[in-house]
Homo-oligomer: 139 residues x 4
Amino acid sequence: MPDTSCTLDVRVRYAETDPMGVLHHSRYAVFLEMGRTELLRKNGVNYRDLEAAGVLFVVTHLEVRFRSPARYDDVLAVTTRLERVSTARIDHVYAITDRATGRLIAEAATTLACVDTDGRVQAIPADLRGRMGWSGPTR
Amino acid sequence: MPDTSCTLDVRVRYAETDPMGVLHHSRYAVFLEMGRTELLRKNGVNYRDLEAAGVLFVVTHLEVRFRSPARYDDVLAVTTRLERVSTARIDHVYAITDRATGRLIAEAATTLACVDTDGRVQAIPADLRGRMGWSGPTR
Amino acid sequence: MPDTSCTLDVRVRYAETDPMGVLHHSRYAVFLEMGRTELLRKNGVNYRDLEAAGVLFVVTHLEVRFRSPARYDDVLAVTTRLERVSTARIDHVYAITDRATGRLIAEAATTLACVDTDGRVQAIPADLRGRMGWSGPTR
Amino acid sequence: MPDTSCTLDVRVRYAETDPMGVLHHSRYAVFLEMGRTELLRKNGVNYRDLEAAGVLFVVTHLEVRFRSPARYDDVLAVTTRLERVSTARIDHVYAITDRATGRLIAEAATTLACVDTDGRVQAIPADLRGRMGWSGPTR
């Protein structure tokens, strides 16, 4: 039975913080991407192999609500949850919390589209869909 | 009469593109930030001076719709428009297009909160509000 | 007669500065890469076209001496000079100064190797060599 | 007895790789910085606390030799070794290898200068020097 969520710890790097001493807001998207990679890995899928097989995913929508600042050297818990899978799209939702205090740092959502190497939208391969643990209807 | 929108050209750097050969989605937030800085500059405000005066802005909400990929060395036109100013918050909306073809690359929206050096929300100073060209009601 | 040096202005972005309020040292390599791209462009060469033609360049050596900090919104003048071209390698040297004050910010040097799409070192194509303006002996 | 070297594993992120599919050369400096932070941590020193106490370190020299490319999702072992401590400067040397194969990815060296919050060079505090495990003469 595949996992539909996972939590990855990420330590905030000095180079990722800004003059206010906090994690720059543009960096959150990188953490979300790491969360998605980790969720795939947990289900035995390597995104690098997918790319080599011509199955690419591009982000078509990103939304982040920044709730509380994160600082250099903080360890953040990035929780990624598969929200919905349709023919060619995948929605994830995320919560980022401070590992030490449990404080909510950010909430986020993304939509990915499955494309081929020329960037054309294609259906998500059936076996990949199965490994992602999506048992609901195809929309 | 202050400007409430501006367009800034930004050339996509090699280091900003990913293995798919396109501008990585996390980089758009950086371009939006540059657009906001430019809009302030057009109205005679330097964000660096604001920070030195204890008037900081943090991004509390970010949303991006990615419409079409941008590639290395493409010149993008980042149009930033002031959408709304409330007591302590500023909303901007953005359109990013390809300078050469006019193709829409992305649409985006952000909300900023005005904070002091300790990160506490504070009212946007009246003179700054005036220079941003916001003539509507305070909400 | 091709140019063997050029100067490109780059404005320091907020997202590139760190908690000390200065341009993070890892970002200089990106500015140097922009300088090299610009020098090629001045000589009618587009690095994107080179890549498409299977002529890639990888950095094999990087050295930077950081002389003085650069701050958010500073405009830096990145001067790139072609230093030497051998069969498969190109050396550049750089000086980065503050546009407003002329102060020296950093000095740098890089070595690039010409590789094919599989990463194997290959000779720099003769016509490219000519367009880069290298009239000295091949070493 | 303090440690004068340590090894930190870092997984290459998608956002850190370029159109050639390899870790962008500008990112190595970030990994070196993480290695230095980790070496301090091993000796009970938190760089964040140092900054709060007005003891800052700026990179004055960086040199990297890139030996072999690293790819997305590779786990790299970043070995950091304290090379020399003088009154106000610290030299480190580094080796980055591929965790899975042992292949050498890069070698590097940095020099840091100890500065105060105004950026003026200051002597490294004696207790910090002790915790870094430098038993040699002060130069």
